[in-house]
Amino acid sequence: MSTLLEVKGLKKYYGTRKEVVKAVDDVSFTVEEGETLGIVGESGCGKSTTGRAILRLIEPSEGEVLFQGKPLTALKNAELRKARRDLQMVFQDPFASLNPRMTVGAILEEPLKVHGIGTATERKEKVKKLLETVGLTEAHYDRFPHEFSGGQRQRIGIARALITQPKLIVADEPVSALDVSIQSQILNLMKDLQEEFQLTYLFISHDLSVVRHISDRVGVMYLGRMVELSPKKSLYDNPLHPYTQALLSAVPHPTPGEKRERIVLTGDVPSPANPPSGCAFHTRCHACMEICKTERPALKETGDGHFVACHLY
């Protein structure tokens, strides 16, 4: 396995003159070829921003993104457009991510057209084949998005991301808008496709169970920072960061009567416009020490690829 994507010191600040929102604040990680890296965190912690900044759908404020060793962040517009063939995205909202005025066929052919792949008939063939692959049929080719259910639309979104045969797919909450039974269909589909096409996923979700199911490694974000990054097993079995621990314990288990030790966090997530000093989590942390209030902990390895950013370790 080789490193497909390397993110170094990624920052994205949204600035108004008065306040700066540190949506992503110095995040680094790598994604290996063929693996799925899951990113979890609560709403507003910067997951989507990270995903989009990697693809340069929004311009990162700082930091470097290397794709197959080449810096994406340094590419000119034209080169970037070419590079996007290999980097695709699946979006959260199946209703908003398809242009309502284009047929499914046109939506799926567009990437091919943009990259000048194939003739018209070849493109059509390819699209029809792909429709089957994602669980739709040729008959859907001429339909408009509004004629589909949420799950079907998400299949179309996935097909669009797949059609240029990319290496990396960033999936930003691809299932969170779907009902449980549909959600599992999509998760299964994504797993199958990964196998079939040797895809690499950066899978963003706020749902810890979903992330656990699909990922090989998982990163936990809090307030624009990566607080813990580890292979899934060790993260779920042995969470190190107090935030991760709280997060995991907060998930309700579908097992009635189960008695669990629950860490209930007090208060709300602070605003990224005004993050606490030192460790961003110290205001809600049950194990907060003096140092946490002043010094920002670095992400360090505690063994076996398990990284944590906490002064406890």
Binding site: D179, I182, L187, S209, H213, A246
Partner: protein
């Protein structure tokens, strides 16, 4: 335990563009005093419409076509609008899914909290405001004296949902209907809110009708559960039996298709297809098209809701043999 709310054969319809959509199609269940009853089901299966029917707050174009809603010995559907108003908020209160939009943005928290007690208890402004502060304390809002003078947009989502709960609890209602109260919240905030609701229920022995699509929440909160599918109840059971031995194939599928946070599953099971629009299946079992165990009868005959004993019910031909009867009106 006594029954406080009983729904019998409730049918609520929408008069759509050129047809009638039976959003809720013959639902019956009852809520006991002090009990938390969970209602689960996929999006669009009629959960919200059921709750709004109870409150008689349906949107324009919706009509309750049939059924009875007994509450404390009265049929809510036969009350006058004025009588119904004195039930709303006072005896049955409701919390909605979206804490962000369920509070009026142009009035202070205090004013919105006071409205209820001024209306139903005839409190003066001052009394009502004091009571509001009291309620905010009960839902663990810090600095309630200050918060009453703030506007909703100055509060976080979790705080707003607490305010909503405080509001709903202001008049000590007998029944609290919570329509997906935590769906819009993060897990850590959800945990806070669920804790709070449990706490309030235990202290005030309010009956709760908890609507959710999250089986985890159901497992943690509820005593009994009804599972809805396409406008109908397909299964009803106490929470333990439901999770241990789901009777209906839909419930079974649902259970197996959720990923677990505490176990690695190689592969999820999934229910293919999606929920049919209410009214689109005219014949047979509404789940048949997605059901792996479906046989001919399922496609041709509409299953009744079978009574399985121990308060369990299931709407599936497979349960016919073990059934001890059928639920009336079903």
């Amino acid at each position: 335990m006594s029954t406080i709310l009983e729904i019998q054969n409730l049918k609520t319809q929408f008069h759509g563009e050129n047809r009638v959509i039976p959003a809720v199609d013959g639902i019956s269940f009852s809520l006991q005093k002090g009990e938390t009853l969970g209602v689960v089901g996929e999006s669009g299966c009629g959960k919200s419409v059921t709750s709004l029917s109870i409150m008689r707050l349906l949107a324009k174009g919706a009509k309750i076509a049939e059924g009875r809603i007994h509450f404390n010995g009265r049929d809510l559907l036969s009350l006058s609008e004025a009588q119904m108003r004195s039930v709303r908020g006072n005896e049955i209160a409701m919390i909605f899914q979206e804490p962000m939009t369920s509070l009026n943005p142009v009035y202070t928290i205090g004013k919105q909290l006071s409205e209820m007690t001024m209306l139903h208890r005839g409190y003066s402004k001052k009394q009502a405001l004091d009571h509001a502060v009291e309620m905010l304390k009960k839902v663990n809002i810090p600095r309630p004296e200050k918060i009453v003078h703030e506007y909703p947009h100055q509060l976080s989502g979790g705080m707003r949902q607490r305010v909503m709960i405080a509001m709903a609890m202001s008049c000590d209602p007998d029944v609290l209907i919570a329509d997906e109260p935590t769906t819009a919240l993060d897990v850590t905030i959800q945990a806070q809110i669920l804790d709070l609701m449990r706490d309030l229920r235990d202290r005030q022995s309010t009956s709760i009708l908890l609507i959710t699509h999250d089986l985890g929440v159901v497992a943690e909160m509820c005593d009994r559960v009804i599972v809805m599918y396409a406008g109908q109840v397909v299964e009803a059971a106490d929470v333990n039996s439901l999770f241990e031995r789901p009777a209906h194939p839909y419930t079974q599928g649902l259970m197996r298709s959720i990923p677990k946070v505490d176990a690695d599953l190689d592969r999820l099971e999934s229910i293919p297809g999606s929920v049919p629009l209410p009214g689109s299946v005219r014949q047979g079992c509404r789940f048949a098209s997605r059901c792996e165990q479906a046989h001919d009868k399922c496609l041709s005959d509409t299953p009744p809701l079978f009574e399985l004993g121990e308060g369990r019910q299931s709407r599936c031909w497979l349960n016919q043999e073990s059934a001890i009867g059928e639920v009336q009106h079903a």
